[in-house]
Structures are given as structure tokens and as C-alpha cells.
Amino acid sequence: MTIHDIRTSRRRFLQATGLAGAAATDVLGLGAGLKALAPADAKAQAPAAAAGTKITKSICHQCPARCGIDVYTSNGRVHAIHGSTDHPISNGKLCPKGPLGSYILYDPDRFKQPMKRTNPKKGRNEDPKFVPISWNEALDTVAVRLNGLREKGESHRFALCYGRGWGASCAGLLGTFGSLYGSPNAPIGHSSMCSDSSIFSKKSTDGNGSYNAYDYRNANYLLMFGCGFLEAFRPYNNNMQVWGYIRGEKTPKTRVTAVDVHVNTTLSAADRGLLIKPGTDGALALAIAHVILSEGLWERSFVGDFKDGTNKFRAGQAVNADDFSEKWVKGLVEWWNIELKDRTPKWAAGITTIPERDILATAREFGSTRPAIALFERGAHAHSNGIYNGMAIHSLNALVGSLFAKGGLMYQMGPVYGPLPVTADDYMDDWAKGGAWKNQPRIDLKGHADGYLMANNMLQEVGPNSKAGKPYKLDTIMFYLTNPVWTAPNGQVWEEALKELFVIETSPFPSETAVFADIILPDHTYLERMQDAPTYPFQGYPMMQLRMPAIKPLYDTKYFGDTMIELGKRMKGRMGEYYKALKDTDNVIRHLAKAFEKNPGDNGVNSFETWAEKGVWYKKPYLWQQRNGEFFEWDGKAYAKPMSAEDVGKKLLPTPSGKFEFRSGYLEKNADWIASKTGRSKAKLMFPHWEEPKNPGGGDLYLVTPKTAMHAEGRSGNLPVAIAHMQPTMGGRDTVYVEVNPLTAKAKGITNGAKVKIKSSVGVIEVYARLFEGVRPDTLVLPMEHGHWAHGRWAKGRGPGHSGDVTVNQSDRITGQCLYYTTKVSIERA
């Protein structure tokens, strides 16, 4: 998900509140050792940590939530990380990954400088035989390659893939780089290997192609479909804070029903845990929608009502659309007639294996408790029917009137940055403006009718497509904060692809990508960086955060943003001039901060210096609210300014009709393509409907591979403390176990702790098994951890085998979503 893609058009202009203009302070603390938070009000502030200890602001790096952290440095050592007290996401708290930062900084296996490969052979077990080189040599090598490609007219054969891009000073530079250089493949984001399907479910129904922001604190009911809310759902730290409040303090206590394929902490801590057959969450959601309508529980002020006030929704019976007057939704009756009327709880019980009485009870609770939120991500949608599962679930929010409501869900306002010192358009040469590269499709066939016409990205296809030469073979590929040769399903194909390419890795760590790399341009670890990061979808109001280096770089590494700028400077012609004018990321970030001068944050941040001191700029509240079916805008004191339907359609529900569309205009617009490529019926494909999932792999058991709470997005693989806490539910301490239901295990002769083989059509791995009554008999749950064949001395070779090796690379044709949880495997004693 590209944060910087979110609309930046929403701007706010408030009176400068003139909060204490804190004097510029030595925020890096590079002077005398003592540094505390510069207090706006000295009396309210804490005494700083012990004398000699320096506290620097940064943002945690272990997931996209962007919790503000205070980094403690004493005696020249970074030794502690705590949540920043005045940061709206962390509020002084952290999740279990937050404290891991100093281990990442001091990882003994880090690259200490740029490296060049001397072993021409590439393979999983081939030692690259790296030799250290200078930055000049490293950057010149890459520049020569890129300039060469451009001169040959083949600039499209350069691809730049990125994963966790943080903000304008790193990933934000890449779009310009690609435009100036002339490659459709720079950059390619990872969103298809993330949770794009939910973005499309939202886009198809309410017009917003984005993750939601949530107001959990004021919700009275939460219905979670396949969300590891207490394990991985972002922003995890804040979700747990909210949990403590809504379950431990708030009156009334928020009630929770959680649905998943195995018992985890989320299901255990909820009021009701439901074990569902993988890939059938859509059926459950449809049945809940059916009950809400047939029992008259829908929110009439938002949805509308029958004109004569009587409820005509009855199971199995069609309704006349003219009898119903819709308010903020479109296509409700059509949806009922074509799909919902037959989707009874009894029907859903047969599909999902959840008892009918539980489906009914859940539906009635959800339908009668306001405000209520239905939430989901990959658990529900990383299946071939995922977009429809997601649309069905999200439709529940519309039915109970939670969209943009207090205690409901909304969308994130984008960052409010100042303009860069230079405009890219002024530096486009002829090749950039109209070269032949523009006729080339993207390597992943995003946007191509023969590929993924509607998808945002198809990162998982880059390797396989280049290997197959369809649409063409790449020449050079660069990676930033992404490691698809390991994380992509069936990564073995990527290995073959990378053997043919000139590979540039920017990770600080000796990753699997590095094993195949020709050049290493190592980044700083996050505690050494100055880097901006606009917020991940949180509570809707805009927030931009800043990492300040807690320590001078330990080694000869370079911040990725500066690597790109230095590379850019070496590009021939106008492109090089652009980057020379851009100078460096320090310049970029200071320009971003200029926006704060006219638009100070709630905590007084109004300059780069104050931004660095506080670590975050934010401006509450979220600007819009829906109340009893009416929309209001914030007028400075309250949500009191009524919005016209046109306004709502433009700012909040940007669908063709300006309403929540059960009948999706967006999907209908692409109906021909969808029907021809996926075989779906043109009559139904625009409605949330039930589809049997298609499960490749050839086995008899579903394989689901969730993250655990310790999973620091691939960076925990080489951290002993993280490894030792990885899977507490099953005692997974130096490995992780596959959860096998005892009945299934008995049928296959597998005992507790036995070594097993998990097989699919693409591979086989060895794992140790744990017999667990809490996992469905038709399902295996293996956390996506370990199985590294590189990445450092603790990561390398740590079992079990990597789940990606047995995951079939199946993607959803509409959304591009990589379908991680859809492979069916077999299991046997090893």
C-alpha cells in the first residue's frame, strides 16, 4: 500500500494557535550528553531519564503502524526503546516488537559497507563472495548500467521493487525516478503481496481504494473476520491499547465476536470465537446481512426504508425495488433479490461449518448493537473469492450505518507536506516524455488486459514473468525493503529469475535477495536514519512522523533516499540535474516540513526543528462525521456544518452514484473484462455474492500461514530474543510448529512433536508438528516464520522449512491479491 498515493488534496487551514514556540534545541544531542524532551510547559513534564542519557525521537520499524518511540542512548550505546508518551499511536506503549530496535541496530551480520559480487554463479547455496567497495564505485557501477540501458532504448528493463516504503524521502522519490528515467517498472510496490483485496472491496463498494481508519474506542460491537486483532492487525500497539480500554474500562463494555480457522488469543479474548472453514467468510457475512434485513435490524437513517414502513425482506422471497426508498446506499433490493434472499443462516452453516445458532446470535448482536464495526483483512480475502468475501463483510458496515460514524470506520486523511524544491516536470527530456518505453507494458502486467487490468501492483509476478520472458525479460532489478525471492509464494521461481538479472540489494542485512545480488548498497537501520513517514491508516486525522538518528551510523551505510538521489545525480542529462538540484534527503525533509509553518500541529510543531523534537505532527480531528444518516463537516468546534450529497460524493463516497454501492458501479464498468477473464456471470459480478473458493496445491488440508505477534516483518528472523518468543501458544521457541488437529494427526499416524512433511504441487517442507485441539481438522496452521536460507547466523537454516515453498502462486485476477491462504497441502510423517 503506497501511503504517498493517498490523496494529498485535503488541506486544512487553521488559525496558527501559537503554542509555545519551543526554541530550536539540539535534537541530535550531539553536544553535551544531557537531552530531554523540551517541555512546552515545564511543570507538566517529567524529569528526564538519568543524567548522561540522551533521548531521541524516532518511529518503530517493525511493522507499518509507525508508533512513535523514544530511543535511549547512554555511554554511547543505544540500549532502550520506549513508546513516546505524546504520540497518538503509541501513547507511551509498545507491542512486543518495539523493544527489538537496538538488536536490529547492532545485528552482527549487517553489511558494513557496499559490496560487489565476485562469484558469477548464483544460487541458494552459492556464496556470492562479496568484496567491499567504496560508495563511489558501487554507485558508478549501477549508474553505468542504468545509463547504458537507457542509451540502448531499453530503460523499461530496469525494475525497482519496494516493500515497506515509509514516506516522501524514500519510496516517495521512486515515482519521479521512474518517470525521469523512463521505466514503467520503477517503482513496483508490494501491495499485491499485502492486502490489496480489501482495498478493492472497499473501492468497489464505497469508492475508497484504501485501508480503513477505525474509531474502535467508541464502538460497542466488533465483528472480526480472520483478523489477528491481538496478534498482528495494524496498528497493533494501538489496537491493544484500545482493547484494554473497551474491554477493561469502558462502559458499556464493547462486545466482540471473532472468526478464524484456529483458536488464537483474539478468539480466546473475544466473547465468542467461531471456527470457520477457510475461504468461506463471505458466506457467513452474507447470512448475517440476510438476518439483518429479514429481522429488520438495519440502520434506517443511513440505508433507507420501505416506503410503507413494513419489512418485506423474507427468506426466499424477492422484493419489489420500488417499495424501498434508499438513502445512502444503492442496489440493496437488487442485491437481496439476486443473492441475499437465499443466504440463510442454515445455508451458511452448511458452507462454513459454524453452527446455525451461533450465526443467528452473532447476526442479531451485530445488527442490534450500535455502533458496530465489521473488520477483515487477509484472513478473509487471501482466497480466490476474496474480493467478494470482503465486499460482503464491508457491506455489513453499511447496513448498520457505521460508515463515517462515531464508533465506526472512515478513511485516512493524507499527509500535508510542503512542495519539494524542484519540480520533476521541468527536467523531463524527450525520452522521459515520449520514449518507446511508454509502449511497454509493466513487467507484472498491471494495467494490462492480458494481465491484471485493475490491480494496483502484481509484485509476485515480476520474477516469474521476467523468467518466462513474458512480456519481456528484465535486465536490472533493485530492491528496497522487500525480499520477494523469499516472501513470494513459490519463491523458487524467483530464484531462477534472479539468476539472469543484475540485482541490486539495499537492505542492511544479508537477505536472500543479497545472496542473488550483484551489488549491495546497504541502507542504515532505522535508528540511524532521518526519515519521514506519514501515518498508516489510523483514526483518520492527518499525521506525519519523523525518525531522527539516535546514533551516528555504525558503518559505512547510506540512507536509501540518499542512495537514490546519488544514483540520480549520476544519470546523464536532465535527470542528473534534477537530482543535483534536489541535493539530498535532508533538503527534501526540510522542505516537507515547511508546510507546518502555516499549519502547526496540535502539539505545536510548526517547523523542522520542532518536528524533530516531538517526532510527529498531527491535527485532530478527522474532518467528517455521519450522524443518523446526515453528514457533517468539522467547523472548528464541532461536526456541525451539514454536507450536501454532492459534497459527500466528492469527499467521502466517491462511487459513481455518490453512495455505498451494493451494486458496484466500479466492477460493472469492468464487467466485460472481468467476465471474459474470470468466467463470472455478468449479472452477479458486481454484487457481493457467494463463490466456492478454488484451492490449488493438490492436497486434502487447507494451509493457513498467519503472522505471530513477534513477526517483525522479516526483520525478526535474525533476532534471538524474537526467535525465543515466536510462537508462545504452542511453545515455539527456537522453531515454529505446525498446528495439527489430533483427529487428523491420528488418521495420519502423526504424534505430538513428530517431524512431518508438508507437500503441495510446488514443493515440500519439513516441520515439527504440535497436536492442537484448537485447530480445525481440515486445516493446518503454520506461522509464516523462519525457513530462511540467508539473513544472518540465527536466521539461516532455522527450521521449519519456509511456508512459501509449498504455497502455490495464485493471484486474484481482479485485485491482484496474492492468495497466501488458499493452497491445499498434504501432511505425512517425515
Binding site: 513534564q45 517529567a46 524529569p47 528526564a48 531519564a49 538519568a50 547512554s74 555511554n75 550505546r77 543505544v78 540500549h79 532502550a80 520506549h82 508518551t85 507511551g92 506503549k93 509498545l94 507491542c95 512486543p96 516488537k97 518495539g98 523493544p99 527489538l100 537496538s102 538488536y103 547492532y106 491481538l230 497493533y236 491493544m240 491499547q241 484494554g244 480500554y245 474491554r247 477493561g248 488464537n264 488469543t265 478468539l267 480466546s268 479474548a269 471456527l275 505477534a709 513477534m710 534471538p720 524474537a722 526467535i723 525465543a724 518468543h725 501458544t729 511453545g731 521457541r733 527456537d734 489430533p742 483427529l743 492442537f772 485441539e773 484448537g774 485447530v775 480445525r776 547466523r793 540465527w794
Partner: protein, 252 residues
């Protein structure tokens, strides 16, 4: 003097283990040296499986069975109620580990549970059994109180972050991370807890929140039958299902 105690609210606790990793970070713990640990249990048959979890620091008992058995008096209880280990006196006989009903103690010479052994990667310097670049501030270390990286051949355990709490303003009722005055003095496991399931305060102060929570929400001690009377109390949702021991509650 304060009598420091802790309250852990099992209804709010999400089992995330941030307390465990924050402690490991704060006190430079090796993997497996879980001064603070979260213990997971489950029982039941599919599909009715009950999973539960329990954060487990040292209980800093009122009648610590570990203190009585230590032949060198290396383990002792401070005037403010905290049980500590003096590494200068500890001979590593491990009798305290045998005598602790709650399994909170760790011997420094165990085999590494995660290989390669961090003690070899960041080799020690004689005084400390290992010496990593992220070691705690020099000023915080105190071998007489078992704070910092221990030498070889001794036993270590949770210190209630004594290096922090001992610097708290005198007479304060609770050490709360949300209070700027006490934030830096709050134990790390309490400070990091996102659902705010952990509280730390003075059990001898009638105004402290820990006392109020124990009373209002039925705080219980674990393993009453040992008579150790922990100073760590658990809240489980108002029930109070555990029968208080007669000795502990002063009835015997």
C-alpha cells in the same frame, strides 16, 4: 518505606509478550532467561478449546521461600519489599531455584536455547558473562542487587526494575507510566503494556491504586497453599475464584 507490589489484569492482558521483550531489552536478558514470561495454557476438545495466558514476573513474596534457603544470604528482601540477588555472594548452588514455587529464577550457565550462543558472539569481560553493544547504561548496573549482566555461575531473576523504582520520589503511591513524574521509575514491563493490564504501586499505602484494584476487582495470589504470599496480584474479571489462604489473609 514502600512495600512494592504489582497487579496484573488478566481480562485486559492480550498475551502479546511485550512485557517479556521489554524486560529482555531493559535488563539485557538472554533468550530463555525470561525474568518476565508469559505462560500459555489450553484445554478442551475441538471446537471448544479454552486458551489462557499468564504474565509471570517474580512474585517478590512476603514470605519468600527462596530467601530462607540461601546459604550465603545472597538472596535477600529489601526494606521496600523487593527480593534481590547479590551476585557477589551467590555461589550458584541453585537451592533458591529449587525452592521457588513460581519458577522465576534462572541460572547463568545454562546451555543457550538459541544457537549461536550470544555469550560467544558478544564475549564477556570477566565481570559479565557476555557483553553486547546494547548493554544497559553503566550507571544502572549493580551486581549487589542483581541488576545488569551477571557473571558466570550465579542465579538471576526479576528485580522489579529496582534500578528504576529505587529512584522514585519517596512516598508516592503508584509508579504509573502515564504520570510524567513517575514514568522513568516505572518497571519496563508495566510501562510498555499497551492494554494497560499492569499496575505497580505501594501495597502499604491505603491510597494506592494497586490496593484499590485488589479490593474492587478481587485480586488473587497464585499458589496460596505454599504460604509464600506473593506481592503480585492477578485480576480475573471480578470473580475471585481462588480461595485465599488462611495464613496469607491473616486468619491463621
Amino acid at each position: 518505606m514502600a512495600k512494592w507490589g504489582m497487579v496484573i489484569d488478566l481480562e485486559k492482558c492480550t498475551g502479546c509478550q511485550a512485557c517479556s521483550t521489554a524486560c529482555a531489552m531493559e535488563n539485557n536478558r538472554l533468550p530463555g532467561e525470561s525474568w518476565q514470561d508469559v505462560l500459555f495454557y489450553h484445554e478442551g476438545k475441538y471446537p471448544n478449546v479454552k486458551m489462557s495466558w499468564l504474565p509471570r514476573p517474580c512474585m517478590h513474596c512476603e514470605n519468600p521461600s527462596c530467601v530462607t534457603v540461601c546459604p550465603t544470604k545472597a538472596t535477600y528482601k529489601t526494606a521496600d519489599g523487593v527480593v534481590l540477588v547479590d551476585w557477589n555472594k551467590c555461589i550458584g548452588c541453585k537451592y533458591c531455584m529449587i525452592a521457588c514455587p513460581y519458577g522465576v529464577r534462572f541460572y547463568s550457565d545454562d546451555k543457550a536455547i538459541i544457537e549461536p550462543d550470544l555469550r560467544k558472539v558478544f564475549a564477556g569481560d570477566g565481570k559479565r558473562s557476555w557483553n553486547p553493544p546494547y548493554r544497559m547504561a553503566d550507571a544502572s548496573e549493580d551486581a549487589t542487587r542483581g541488576i545488569g549482566i551477571q557473571p558466570r555461575g550465579v542465579v538471576s531473576k526479576c528485580t522489579f526494575c529496582y534500578h528504576k523504582i529505587s529512584k522514585a520520589p519517596k512516598g508516592v503511591a503508584d509508579l504509573d507510566e502515564d504520570n510524567p513524574q513517575t514514568k522513568e521509575h516505572t518497571p519496563s514491563c508495566v510501562r510498555v503494556c499497551a492494554p494497560k493490564a499492569r499496575y505497580f504501586g505501594d501495597l502499604d499505602n491505603p491510597d494506592s491504586r494497586v490496593n484499590q484494584l485488589i479490593a474492587d476487582k478481587g485480586g488473587v495470589r497464585l499458589k496460596e497453599e505454599t504460604g509464600n504470599k506473593p506481592q503480585v496480584y492477578y485480576l480475573s474479571g471480578g470473580g475471585s475464584p481462588v480461595v485465599p489462604g488462611a495464613r496469607s489473609s491473616g486468619k491463621a
